[in-house]
């Protein structure tokens, strides 16, 4: 006992023993990880239910802006029913508007004037600017279309078609 320093009697636990993890302890940690997974899944289900409850049953008409304020081939982002949407002026007389969230994983789509396509840069998804249908890439469904109404020089969003 003469070799043992005096401080060791005050601190009898060694670092090695303190950080030692038994197999059973490790298995219990795995069960905790396994518990976290359904919690994350449940959080998604709860969030989805809350979003569904918060969504309005029908959308009220909303003025987007004047047609002349948008150049031919130009696009403009606006919010409708709590969702980001994209208004496109296809030519002098025609306009179209779609939900801006890509139907693949929800990235915002952008209008490419040169190709007249809507492009999702995340996973290279392409949509037709005329009707919102999928042209290429992983998106499974067309973009939701915002129904438009022209009142004089103004454009109004009147509803959303999935």
């Amino acid at each position: 006992m003469a070799d043992t320093p005096a401080w060791k009697e005050d601190f009898p636990i060694s670092w090695g023993d303190d950080s030692y993890v038994t197999r059973r302890g490790f298995t219990k940690s795995l069960v905790l990880v396994s518990c976290a997974m359904p919690c994350a899944n449940d959080a998604l289900v709860a969030r989805e239910a809350l979003e569904r409850r918060a969504a309005p049953a029908s959308l009220a008409p909303m003025r987007i802006g004047s047609v002349q304020g948008l150049p031919i081939g130009g696009s403009r982002v606006f919010e409708y029913g709590g969702e980001p949407c994209l208004l496109i002026r296809l030519d002098a007389d025609r306009t179209a508007a779609y939900g801006q969230k890509c139907t693949h994983l929800g990235c915002p789509v952008l209008y490419r004037k040169e190709t007249k396509k809507l492009h999702c840069p995340c996973h290279e998804g392409y949509f037709n600017a005329e009707d919102g249908k999928v042209l290429a890439g992983p998106p499974p469904r067309p973009l939701p279309r915002v129904t438009l109404e022209r009142r004089g020089d103004d454009l109004w969003a009147t509803g959303m078609q999935a």
Binding site: R23, R24, F26, T27, K28, L30, V31, V33, S34, C35, M37, P38, A40, N41, D42, L44, V45, R47, E48, K101, T103, H104, L105, G106, P140, R141
Partner: protein
Amino acid sequence: MTPSLRRRSERSQQMTVIYAVMVAILILILIQFLLLMVALEDYLSGNRTVLTGAAVGSALCFAAACWLSRYLSVRRRG
């Protein structure tokens, strides 16, 4: 069989059971991870058809992991 040999054999058996349970729980966690990824992709795409199914599947995997862990504790005490 001598007592020392029997003890060694029991210990080896015990270790095999612990490793088997660990691997089984790891496989269950992997399945849960895949279910979470599927649910996340489903949620982000706005499709939302498999969200509840994935949550139920994940909960079942968790229940199985709990049962395996409990089996280990009962076996140790027994």
